[in-house]
Amino acid sequence: MTFEADQVEQLCRAYGSSILRRCRAILKNDAEAEDAAQEVMVLLFEKGQQFRGDAAVSTWIYRVTTNVCLNHIRSESRRRTREQSGDVRDWIEKENPDAQRFVVQSDVLREALGGLSDLDQQIFVLRHVDGLRQDEIAEVVGRSRRTINKRLKKLDEWTEKKRAEVPS
């Protein structure tokens, strides 16, 4: 075991519960969340040298974790099941004034994210799953705060539109 690997392990342990919590919140499936958390840690061991000192390690870990989870969702949505489509119908049918909140709290997040660009998916998760502020989202995804503000407005419109267009 190298000294450096020891330190990456230390990092995994320090941030492991954060990684695991976020994977569970995004993926809504404990087994899949553990797979994703392990993938994140593999990336910490393998790709750590891509990390540059100009960002906090915490935001870097948030970014990697978000991307790994979204990749899980993307590959899962390719083999989407009928049951999940039913979940979306339930979501639409529910009288819920806060569509984003309902998406995050129910099991339909992965379905709902399907129509979004990769960047918007990241922003949606950081905003509505993690509850981050705009400047924090900007830091995690590496975009300007103005971009985040614009994308969040679009995302709100998108959510409302999706509610309206899906037949009951």
């Binding site: 020891d6 061991f45 509850g131």
Partner: protein, 254 residues
């Protein structure tokens, strides 16, 4: 699953999970954030949840980290973390791996001399352990010590062959002052591996910076002829310090 916005009372000025995760992982909080935390019950409550998760999930995290390390391509393993965690050197040890681990602790008995209290986390439950009890692989331990008048302290793992590993100061080679001179919880905790041997955890309370080498030699000298270290022999260890220890017997996992 608890989320930031699920908790009523966390308003616009509140600390995000991103900020609180850094506090949990590294102990850092910027001064304005620390000031907010002092006055905001909602953020303080959220921090407790995150700390609790870190404690409860420690065994899962350890398992995942070990698997991740095994899966990572060896040549790609990082040298980068040195910049981030300069000075934070985990004690690599066959007997134990280090994790952060937060428990609510009962105050130790003040009537005696130097003392160590043992807290055990097993399957999400935390209980106060006793020296000589049987423990299982995966059990995580945290120690609380009462150094009395001794300014220097070292926490040393000792295996059945008398081999030593320094757990406090983390990765250090000599006893170090504790931050507060009374009943100080240690920053690190230990997770028991599945090696079948009895192990000891030795608290060294000293008036000077006793070195790891001195402790190792003193413990080695107390071994029996067959090279094994028995608990009784710990009473005969000759060292310029007061000693307190716990014996960890390994029991089969239920």
């Amino acid at each position: 699953m608890s989320r930031a916005f699920d908790e009523p009372g966390r308003g616009a000025g509140c600390l995000s999970d991103l900020v609180l995760d850094v506090k949990v992982a590294e102990g850092h909080l910027a001064a304005p954030d620390a000031a907010h935390l002092e006055t905001c019950a909602a953020c303080a409550a959220r921090l407790l949840v995150l700390e609790e998760q870190q404690r409860i999930w420690a065994p899962d995290v350890l398992r995942l980290a070990a698997r991740a390390k095994a899966h990572a391509r060896p040549r790609a393993r990082a040298v980068w973390a040195r910049r981030l965690f300069a000075g934070l050197v985990p004690a690599a040890c066959a007997a134990a791996a280090l994790v952060f681990f937060v428990v609510d602790e009962a105050p130790p008995d003040r009537s005696k001399g130097v003392a160590m209290s043992l807290f055990v986390q097993r399957d999400g439950e935390v209980f106060i352990g006793a020296s000589g009890d049987a423990y299982q692989a995966g059990d995580a331990f945290r120690f609380r010590v009462r150094p009395r008048h001794h300014p220097y302290f070292m926490l040393v793992g000792v295996d059945g062959h008398g081999r030593t590993t320094v757990f406090y100061p983390l990765g250090g080679d000599a006893a170090a002052p504790l931050e507060d001179h009374d009943e100080v919880p240690l920053d690190a905790s230990l997770v028991l591996d599945d090696a079948p041997e009895q192990e000891f955890v030795l608290g060294v309370f000293a008036d000077r910076a006793v070195t790891a080498g001195e402790v190792a030699r003193a413990v080695a000298a107390a071994r029996a002829r067959d090279g094994r270290l028995h608990e009784d022999a710990l009473h005969d260890v000759t060292l310029d310090a007061e000693l307190s220890w716990v014996v960890l017997n390994k029991g089969a996992r239920q």
